[in-house]
Amino acid sequence: MFELHALGIAAAALAQPHNLFLVAFGTFLGLIFGLLPGITSLAAMAILLPFTIGMDPLSGMYLFAGIMGSAPFGGSVTAILFNIPGEPVNAATCFDGYPMTQKGEASKALGISATASALGALFGILVLIALLPSVRAIVFAFGPPEFFMMIMLGLVTVAIAAPGNVIKGLVTAGLGVLISIIGFDPMSGSLRFNLGSPNYLWDGVSLVAFFVGIFAITEVIEYFVQGGTISLTGTRVHTGLKGTFEGAKEVFRNFRVFIQGSVIGTIIGILPGVGGTVANFLAYTVAMQTSKHPERFGKGNPEGVVAAESAVSAKDGGALLPTVAFGIPGSAETALLLGALILHGFNPGPLFIRDNMEIVWALILGLLVSNIIASTIGLLGAEYLTRVTTVNVKYLVPTILVISLIGAYADRENIWDVLLAILSGFLGYGLIRFGFPIITLVIGFVLGKLAERSFLQSLQISLDPWIFFQRPISLVLFLVIVLFIVFPIVRSWMRAYKARERLRG
């Protein structure tokens, strides 16, 4: 299956100038689309899809791999510099990346992101190569009950991760789920919670417009209210390559967190339909849960950026596994990739990797080269990007606002999405202003529809609600949820007990 001649064909094709150009062009597009909030790499792939039909399949794959490999890093740049994730999958990168920027450590954060992205992608690719022969068992072990428990695990971990008032975290998580299920019900077909709008909300609330509002518009409002510069006043902004390479070293200093994030990213990538946003949040949360200093998270802790970014990039390799092995896409990007393969006359499924291994290798090599190019650009360009944070926000507010709202429009070409983004922005501002965590709202929104679908599918399978506790993987996931809830409580009790003992002593 892994005969070297397939690798040779793919490598020889990559060595041709026009294919190298396609990878570089894809990488450039991925970076640009990743940088722009609201416009995802998926849009770039969708736009280019028709143009690839006339290409040689290997060339088409190199173009797509270029986009897929670089977009996560592009998205992390705006997450770190402006607290606005360029891609939804970079949302958790904001939590420590942006505080680092405010402390004048933007170049270090970008260095971490570039290195963790490249190494995370490499990790995912290596796992892809290693697991291709045995992936079938992993994918088919996850039925609807397991998916439901996996989603619950994601929700619970994030709700617990929100600091301060956990109750408010749970409220916004639930609210996110409720907002996500607006639109037609997949089982009965009836239109739900549409606020009297029979057309616009039929297909639910647009994820892109909602994210643009919650992240970008909220941040624009905050900039306008606060004034000044993004780097907090009085902070010395470290520019120069030294800070960037210091960031690269941080990945190796936090190697355990990197491996942990990459493993989570790869596993989430393998699971069809879960997506990179979950990988990003889950890796961040697990890093915080297992850290010796959880109190440093959210305040510019490099561990947070390492975990989030390694997971996002590692998930691409993981997501390719079910795509090429069974024709089951692991993410939206791989779903589009699958469409491209079908357009080129391939039949993705178990026979695909036997007969067309050179295509798989082309994707692997393309991802690898794209990550190397993107990270090199990131490491060398961080110095210049960092300077944006010293610009007075009065210049940034109108520009970011316009680019973000056009991004909200461009996704579905619907002007009401612009209004939705604005309203979501005010909701986000209110949440922040009154101490409700946004992280739980976002993750609830991302997972809500998936949760409902897998819950209903599970009940269709057995009609017995106990199905969630009768299947081994589902039960294990449930026990992990319980552990995630109990562990911090026990740890807090232990700390309180030790503090009392010290006072007595």
Partner: protein
């Protein structure tokens, strides 16, 4: 305090709407909304009680779960010092956002971008004409190159120039 109560009541109204609406739908359409909506409703009541009567709710304080960790709503932690005229500033930016939406709907993406950035920089940011013109024209051209030229993407033309407003 008053603003907090108003926002908390708004946060209560959202799950209340979902729970109330549920009863008109088929059973499969209301499982998750009810399973999620009712606890959210109860928890939000708890939040209101906690904030209105802090001493009475202290017995049920759940800060034991506070890991002191990552803040999704990072700005809340970072910008704890709010400006005195915060409310006025929020209203002003709301006005600017509304203006952009109206311009976008009427004259389309590129003219709206050009006009909005120019107006914003002159009126709100009080920059010079030269800077305002350079930034507004530069941003509009950059957007046109990206969407119109490279991606061959037709941005909204505006209702006044034949753009369709989709039904709500």
């Amino acid at each position: 305090m008053k603003g907090s109560l108003v926002f908390n009541l708004f946060m209560l109204a959202i799950p209340a709407y979902f729970v109330w609406s549920c009863f008109g739908y088929a059973p499969t359409a209301r499982y998750i909304p009810l399973i999620v909506g009712i606890p959210v409703l109860v928890l939000q009541v708890w939040v209101i009680v906690q904030e209105r009567f802090p001493s009475a709710s202290r017995a049920y304080d759940v800060s034991i779960l506070d890991l002191g960790g990552g803040q999704g709503a990072a700005p809340a932690a970072e910008h704890s010092k709010r400006p005195a005229d915060e409310g006025r500033r929020v209203i002003i930016i709301g006005g600017w956002l509304a203006l952009y939406f109206v311009l976008f709907s009427l004259v389309g993406a590129y003219p709206a971008t050009l006009g909005f950035i120019l107006l914003f920089l002159l009126v709100s940011s009080r920059t010079t004409w030269r800077v305002a013109l350079a930034m507004s024209i530069g941003t509009s051209i950059a957007l046109w190159v990206l969407f119109g030229l490279i991606m061959k993407y037709q941005l909204y033309e505006g209702a006044l120039f034949g753009g369709l407003v989709p039904p709500l």
